[in-house]
Every structure is written in C-alpha cells, then in structure tokens.
C-alpha cells in the first residue's frame, strides 16, 4: 500500500509517504509558511521514492482541530490532490495524531491530548491503544476550558500537547492521580497521520474528496449584531 499524508494544523508542517510498512517524512517547524512548503515536501517524497501521484492508493490529512487556517490548508491540499488523482481520503484527527506519536515515540498506551485553543480553552481528547499499535478514541473530542475537561478513566495516562504548557497545573489537578507525566512540547507529525491513515483506509474510513472536510470543534466564531453585548 502507498499513502501520502500531510499535516499543517499547528506551527509544524509535514508530509509523509507510507510504502508497504515504511514511512519517509519531511518535517519543519515553520509558522505561517505551511502553504509555501507543503506541496514541495510531498513532491520531494514522491520523487525520492520514484513514484507518481497516480501510483498512490490513498491520501490522509490532519483534519483538525488546530489553527483554522492551517487545518484548511491541509484540507484544501488533500481535496485538490485527491480530486486530481482520483484517490480516497482519510481525515485524521490532530489530537489522535499527537496520541499516535506519543505511542510510537514514547511507548505511551494511554494519552490525554490537550492542544492550546487560545481564548482560555483547550482542544481535548483521550486516546488509547488496544495493543495493535493504533490509537483509538477513548473520550469524545471537545473544546472547553481546562477546568472543564472530563475525568480520565482506567489506568495511567500521559498528558501530551501544547495545552499542557500554559494549563499544566489546572489539567493536572483535573486528572489527579491518573496522570503519569506531561509532554507539552510535541507537534503532530505527518508520519503518524500516515499510520492512522493506512489503518483508516484498511478499515473503510476513507471518504470522497469533497467529503474531506475540517473538524474545527470551535464553531461559534462570529456573533450576530444582537448578540454583541451579552
């Protein structure tokens, strides 16, 4: 199987190419430069592997939550490539990607992901593995104040993601004795989008290009004139 993955939801920009169990990646922390970099990264990976876009079996992209603009760049690129090369697309959660990275790099089987959502809130999700090397959702993703995250169940969890920086104390207090540590300084990476994407493609979770859409979690982004002073 050959799958291309892209991820631009945070300050990091990355692309990865999965070919039959091997993953190559291009990764760069480059705030505000994602649009300029992402296609060149993808092109470079295909060139190195000696394959064309049409040789791919599928595409995966970081569908959010994260920076609205960043998530839309990944979505737009995924839509364009998938429509152009007639490929199925797997939308992959940014929070799941961070959890997958913690599993692969740190061996953490249970991960509580908090991504700084600004405005005093975090994007929150809890992920665990059933032993097959793939992280699955244990708790519905949400955007909420750090004080309001739901309590963690069963076992010991690792806190991962930028939300554990500014809100580490509050989140720690909410998670109490279930927390095993905090790793705020990790970015979602396309190689982990690729692993989750391959798993999704094999399990029938791919969609048509026009159904490849962002998940923002934060949806009340504008106020109508009558709501301003409430």
């Amino acid at each position: 199987m050959k799958l291309l993955a892209i991820e631009t939801a945070t300050e990091a920009c990355s692309a990865a190419l999965f070919i039959d169990g091997e993953v190559e990646e291009r990764f760069q922390v480059a705030p505000r430069d994602h649009a300029r970099l992402i296609l060149a990264m993808a092109d470079d990976l295909l060139l190195d592997a000696g394959i064309a876009v049409r040789d791919l079996d599928g595409l995966a992209f970081g569908r959010g939550p994260g920076s609205f603009t960043g998530v839309r760049i990944a979505t737009g690129v995924a839509q364009g490539i998938a429509f152009g090369a007639d490929l199925p697309v797997v939308p992959v959660s940014t929070l799941a990607t961070l959890a997958q990275g913690a599993l692969m790099d740190l061996g953490a089987p249970r991960v509580a992901v908090a991504l700084d959502a600004r405005m005093g809130e975090v994007y929150w999700g809890a992920y665990m593995t059933r032993g097959d090397g793939i992280m699955v959702m244990a708790e519905e993703e949400r955007v909420c104040a750090p004080e309001a995250v739901p309590s963690l169940k069963d076992g010991v969890w690792l806190g991962v993601g930028s939300g554990w920086g500014p809100y580490g104390d509050i989140l720690h207090h909410c998670c109490r004795e279930r927390l095993d540590g905090m790793v705020p300084d990790r970015y979602p990476a396309a190689r982990d989008v690729a692993w989750l994407g391959v798993h999704g493609l094999r399990n029938g979770r791919a969609v048509a290009p026009e159904r490849a859409l962002p998940v923002y979690l934060r949806d009340n982004v504008a106020k109508k004139p009558g709501e301003r002073n409430r």
Binding site: I38, L39, R72, G76, Q79, G80, I81, K224
Partner: protein, 337 residues
C-alpha cells in the same frame, strides 16, 4: 488550452472553464450572501469555512455542465490576492494541488486584473489601451490599461470604496445587506430634488476619490428628517446621485487627461443601472464608448479568473510548486506575461 479558474477571495465561490480557442465553456457560482446577511457584513472565518465546503462540489458541477472530463483541463488559475487571506488560501490550496496532481501548469491571478479583463469575455471586447473604472465593495480605482499586466493607477479612493459606502449607507438606513442593490431600489422611488449631497473631491484636480463623508452626510440627513419610508427613498436617491456623479466626473477627467476614448467599467458597483447610463454618456462625449461585463461578471466570478489565467498561461507564465496568497498585492507590481 482549457483553463480552470477558481475565485475565492471574498464571499463568492466561483469556478469556470475558459478555452483559448472556444472561449468560455462553463461557469458556476455559489454566493454566500445568505451566510453573512445576518451579520451585516462578510465574516472572514465563515467565508473561509464555506469556500472549503463548496469548491469541489462546484468543480464537479462545472465539469458536468461543460461536458468534459478532468483530463481535458490543461491549466489551473486561481485568485491569489488581494482579498481575505483565509478565503484566498482555500482556492489557492485546492487550485495549486489540483494542478500538481493533474500534472498541468498553474498560475496565480490578481483579483483586480480579473475584473479589469472581464469585459474580454463579452462578444465585443474593448481593444487596448483603455481607461478602466474598478468599482466594488473593496476597491475604487481608475486604471490606465495598455495591455495585459500593463497597468497604471490614475486615481483611487483614499478611504471607503464606493461599494463599501453603499453598504454602510444601506445599513444606517436599515435597508439590509448587500447594500448596493438595496439602495439602488430605494433610489428609484426617491425624489431627486429633495436633498443634495456633496460630490467629494471633484472641485480639485486629480483622480482620487473619497466616499466616507457621504455616509456621514446620509446619517446627518437621516437624523434631521427622520426615517420614514419617503425620506429613506429620498436619501438613497441623493446618495446614489452623488456617488454616480462623482464617479462620472472623475471618469470624464481620466479620459481627458489620457486622451483615450474607451472606458471599461468593472466590479460589483458596475452593475448599478444609473451608473451605467451616466458613464455611457461620458464615454460618448469623449468620442468613444463604454464597455462592461454582463452583470453576472461584474461581481466576483470564476470566469474572469479563468480568462486572465488563460492569457498568462498561454504566454508561458508558470507558478512554482508553492501555494501563495496575499491579502495585499499592488496591481502596479504586475508585469506583462
């Protein structure tokens, strides 16, 4: 060469296919007016969210309507600026990536160049050189056009764009959004003799505009006489007369100063019937005539982007493998392809 054009710079998602030999093959448009109407203006984040939902479904419809498969497309053009950066990035991301996956060239198009060249989509296009009045919700500019990419700004608005003044005046008169058509409708019933608004900056030399004072004048008048239906119509009439008159005076001056005879009107306000009528007289007075795109192509659309992109692609212009969008992009920095 068959070129796909994608426009997402503000609150319209527009796509079109233009063929260098056969002309315009098909165009589709989704307007977000309903999305933004209840907010009283365009909400950039909502605009971006809508573009990313609508672009591919519109692309499928476009290919269907043209009766061609994707393999027929030989190039992709997309609006890269100026405009709302988040909205621009949607069209640019999809457009540049499509071109990469199809293995065809891409070109980034300047939104205002698209508007300038929109009359070229009509059966009797103007020949170069000409004077263009670009008049929309975001821009009011007089431009000397000597060819594709050869633009000199003769004058522009120092504050509000003419369309913005229409929107703001409509809002304070309680006429809703978008304001241009609403004010024009009211103005038809209005008494032209009851109020007289100033013609800003017409009493001094130069081709620059200023429209922000007119909405203040409208507000003061409204507070003086009250907001009954008759006064709303009369204020709309006086406001529209002042905008049309001001634009007409500057257009006549621009034709005189350049010695040119052809006048092109583009941009959303160019759909205003009173403006069209008045500028036809001005151009005739200069021994020339006025050219406009059909009303549908006065406002934002994909056809003008496909056309401008086709001209530039045919001349060999190519975009590197990077997605670029710019909120600001001076038109005079463009070059001939």
């Amino acid at each position: 060469m068959l070129v796909l054009g994608i426009e997402t710079s503000c609150d319209e998602t527009g796509l079109a296919l233009y063929d260098s030999e056969a002309g315009l093959r098909a165009h589709v448009l989704h307007s977000q007016v309903a999305v933004h109407a209840e907010y009283g203006g365009v909400v950039p984040e909502l605009a971006s969210r809508d573009h990313v939902r609508k672009t591919l479904p519109l692309l499928r419809r476009l290919l269907d309507e043209a009766g061609v498969g994707p393999e027929a497309v030989g190039g992709v053009a997309y609006t890269a600026g100026p405009g709302l950066i988040g909205a621009l990035l949607v069209g640019a991301s999809i457009g540049r990536s499509l071109a990469w996956a199809w293995g065809v060239p891409a070109v980034a198009v300047h939104h205002m160049e698209g508007h300038l060249l929109a009359p070229m989509l009509e059966p009797d296009p103007p020949a170069f050189p000409f004077v263009a009045l670009l008049v929309s919700g975001g821009h009011t500019q007089l431009v000397r056009v000597d060819g594709v990419g050869r633009y000199r700004i003769l004058g522009e608005s120092l504050d509000d764009a003419a369309g913005e003044a229409f929107d703001k005046t409509a809002k304070l008169l309680g006429l809703g959004y978008p304001g241009g058509p609403a004010v024009a409708r009211e103005a038809e019933r209005g008494d032209p003799g009851r109020f007289r608004f100033p013609r800003p900056m017409t009493d001094r030399p130069g081709l620059d505009f200023s429209f922000s004072g007119l909405k203040t004048f409208a507000l003061n008048t409204l507070q003086e006489v009250g907001a009954d239906a008759g006064s709303r119509a009369d204020i709309s009439r006086a406001f529209q007369d002042a905008v049309v008159d001001t634009l007409a005076i500057k257009c006549r001056r621009a034709l005189q100063e350049t010695g040119l005879q052809r006048l092109v009107i583009a941009g959303g306000v160019g759909a205003n019937a009173a403006l069209r009528e008045r500028l036809a007289d001005i151009a005739a007075g200069a021994g020339g005539r006025v050219y406009y795109p059909r009303p549908l192509f006065c406002t934002d659309n994909g056809a003008m982007i496909a056309y401008a992109g086709c001209v530039r692609l045919a001349a060999g212009q190519r975009e590197p493998l990077a997605i670029e969008a710019r909120a600001r992009w001076p038109m005079e920095s463009l070059e001939a392809p």
